[in-house]
Amino acid sequence: MAVERNMALTGQPPKSLNTKQKIGVLIGMTGLLILLLATFNLNLPNKAIWLTLSLSAITAGIIIFSKGAYDKKLEGIKNDAVWFNSMSSRGVLAWIAGIALTGFYVILYFFADLLGLGQGADGTNTGLIALFDPLSYAFKNEQASQWFVYGTLYTIAIIGFGIKFIMKYKHNRYEQLRTVSVIFFQTAFAFVIPELMARLNSDTFSLPYNDLKNMWPLNYYAFEQWRVDQFINAQTIGLFFLILAVLMIFVISPWLTYKYGKRWYCSWVCGCGGLAETAGDSFRQLSDKSVKAWKLERWMIHTVLVFSVIMTVATISTFLGYDSTKYWFTKNAFLISVGVFLTLLFAGILYYKRNQLNKSAVAGASGFFIFTIAFLVLISFIDLSQIQIQAKYFSFGLNNKSYAADSALRAFYGFGIGSIFSGVIGTGFYPILGNRVWCRMGCPMAGILGIQQRLFSKFRITTNGGQCISCGNCSTYCEMGIDVRSYAQKGENIVRSSCVGCGICSAVCPRGVLKLENDNLEGRINSNEILLGNDVDLMDYVNNK
């Protein structure tokens, strides 16, 4: 069927915008225009006022637009015209937005001088970044960096689109509470608290920028030497944060994942998840649900996970090696403990969870395991910091520096995974690939939590007997590309490592089939050939065969 796409903001219902929505677009765009003018170095006197105006206009614009969209409608699912609107169905607007966002990330990461970073006299800022100076001074008495600009806009996006999401799901308290939670964690933990803490830094005391909830390995530089040193030098409070960071990885996070599934992090706390669930909500239906995509996902995410593990181990073991007098842990003790930990973990899973693992999972995991252990052995014999790597061979000649192998590994991870994958592709491509590409294909944190969720968690999505009509709303709106329907129509619980527990499959189901639950481990994975409702004898016969 040729369904016409319409780019115009006006048009036929349900695509048409009402007056309130148009006013919202106008106000929001005015806010963005101020940012654009500042970027092109239009001299705006009294920056504090212009910045306030711009950020308020963007937020107000989103809220007014949402009020126009949802205020007068009855409570219910608001997916009308999702596949007709240019923005949400990979139309021209989506491509424009995708290219603009991608461009923004490239400039932000690699060409911050274009935004005015340190371009004024004596290294002061000009352009867009200068516009944010007043706010940065208010927080920490320093001039703004590109990261401060990014953090501010990021937070504004989560707040604005978070409010939109809350209005859209006015009938659904799970969605509302979850959204309040991501707004809170982004605003407080990722933005206000670390910025204010930076104020405490002095010549004798300094802490690294520390977003408490941003755990390793999502925070891939968590254990780099400069950070570890800063923490150690900051005495009690620094050590507290360092120990907390380790406890988060090994105790707090696994326990929470056991109780509630990885959703406690991915769709309630995480900043990447927060943006995906709010600003990215309009693009959740674009995720690829094919089996092919799932196969790619398994390889990609675990490859990144292994990469992040070996990069971190290499980093830590290297500085433990050449600065061996500074730390109480030696290089070899560290490498051996990592090796023992991974071996016990791997052997334990293979033994205790053997019934839940299929052949390809075991083969893949074994490959990754052997590779990791081989790498540990390798770096116990060599000192990576003594090997020089010419970056030009890896960067199409863009980077002519030469790095020690451990920093090269870090730089490559930071560039390839940290910048390109999570930022440029992960967020820049929202309107084309969907809002969770990074979380699904790349995030090493999601990889770890996923393994925990699949094997050691009470969380599952329960299906409701024989009520499924295979309509496909659940699969279509799953941002992680899980084919939810394929489980629901078999009456089988959804226990998948990638599920972030956003709850939208349950919300959009017209027959009340899906429910996110934390319950007993027994019967959590229940594959049935025949659903409830049929002849009891037949069900017994087929399902117990």
């Binding site: 069927m1 369904v3 016409e4 036929q12 219902p13 349900p14 009855l74 409570e75 219910g76 699912i77 997916n79 009308d80 015209a81 999702v82 596949w83 007709f84 609107n85 009938h171 659904n172 308290r173 799970y174 509470l177 094919s290 089996v291 329960t462 409701n464 007997g465 024989g466 009520q467 009509i469 295979s470 309509c471 496909g472 709303n473 279509t476 329907r485 394929s486 129509q489 709850g503 349950s506 919300a507 959009v508 017209p510 027959r511 009340g512 429910k515 996110l516 639950e517 050939e529 025949i530 659903l531 409830l532 409702g533 049929n534 002849d535 009891v536 004898d537 037949l538 016969y541 087929v542």
Partner: protein
Amino acid sequence: MEHIVIIGNGISGVTAARHIRKMSDKKITLVSAETDYFFSRTALMYIYMGHMKFEHTQPYENWFWEKNRIELKKGFVSKIDHQKNQLIFEEGESLQYDKLIIATGSKPNKFGWPGQDLNGVMGMYHKQDLENLEKYAPNNKTCKRAVIVGGGLIGIELAEMLNSRGVPVTFLVREDSFWNGVLPAGESGMINRHIKNHHIDLRLGSNLKEIISDEEGKVKSIIIQETGEEIACNVVGLTAGVSPNIDFLKESGIELGRGVKVNRFLETNIPNIYAIGDCAEQHEAIGNRRPIEAVWYTGRMMGETVAQTICGNKLEYKPGHWFNSAKFLDIEYQTYGWVFGKPKEYEEQFHWIHQDDTKCVTVSYHKETREFLGINTFGIRMRHEIFDKWLTEKRDVDYVMAHLIEANFNPEFFKHFEKDILNAFQKQQTINA
């Protein structure tokens, strides 16, 4: 190798094919004139509303069929020659079978209304109906008003579809309250109000007299029987129920009633020919069920059952406790067990409605024995498994009301109403006592 041919690639036919493949190596051919691949008919509405694209309604990716060696044949079967074990297609081609499963589903009812075949008149059942609707009602400029005739589940879905594109809808319902042949009065009344809250022009107790044509053979208006009122419109949706899609079997020698007559093994009067799904008619109704059940899951269950028989494990079709679900605009509806629109003489009903007028529950129980007979729930999701268990255990209504919270299937953090419901129930009991 035995060749199983299935006519119809809906949920019944596809389920049968899948289960036969799981249990055997037989050659399987799935015939359809409607679409190349299986799709979920119940999801057609979401395509028009822009929630999904057609490909999203296909539960299996296109490689699935070849991988599972289920051959797909697109073509319209015009005749069955059971003596020669062959199908004749419209184009004259033929296909041999060893066993044949008829799973051709339904077609929308037309009751001989004048003008019922005009351009712009359509049902909402086949993919072609959706294409028709896209043609005649793409927006509210081309379709200034649509009239829907027939107040059932498809009617209200069509109303929701048109409403989503801002097409004004007049909804003619023969009964004096929406779907009150099935729903008890309290529920039916709530849905009436919900329909009106969506600005749909609901006309209760109204029948269609005729559809008037313009000069080009397109719909111009309709006339209401009771009042003689003429309503100008560009589209007429006929949604007065469905009946088995079996016209092509008239000369076949297969015993027909309203549908294809089958016994409890889903066998027709001709050996090696079976019928399942919407088009099958039981010789005698099973329990309180109707002889013809045009319901998604019964089609699926018949497919599961007939696959057993065909693979050598001869099995009766024995559906368990009745259940069903639907969605009326924004209000979800589920039912478990039997709650009758007009209560039976042995039946007592308890009705609770929330003050926001979008949630209600009706519980049916036996007057004397107090056995729990069934529940209708609107706006509150409940657990199939629990009610199925309680019905099997023949729990009494007092037990069910006291344990209602165990059946709650709403998402986490939703407000609970079990206490309110129990209080209201106990109050009613003391009044009655």
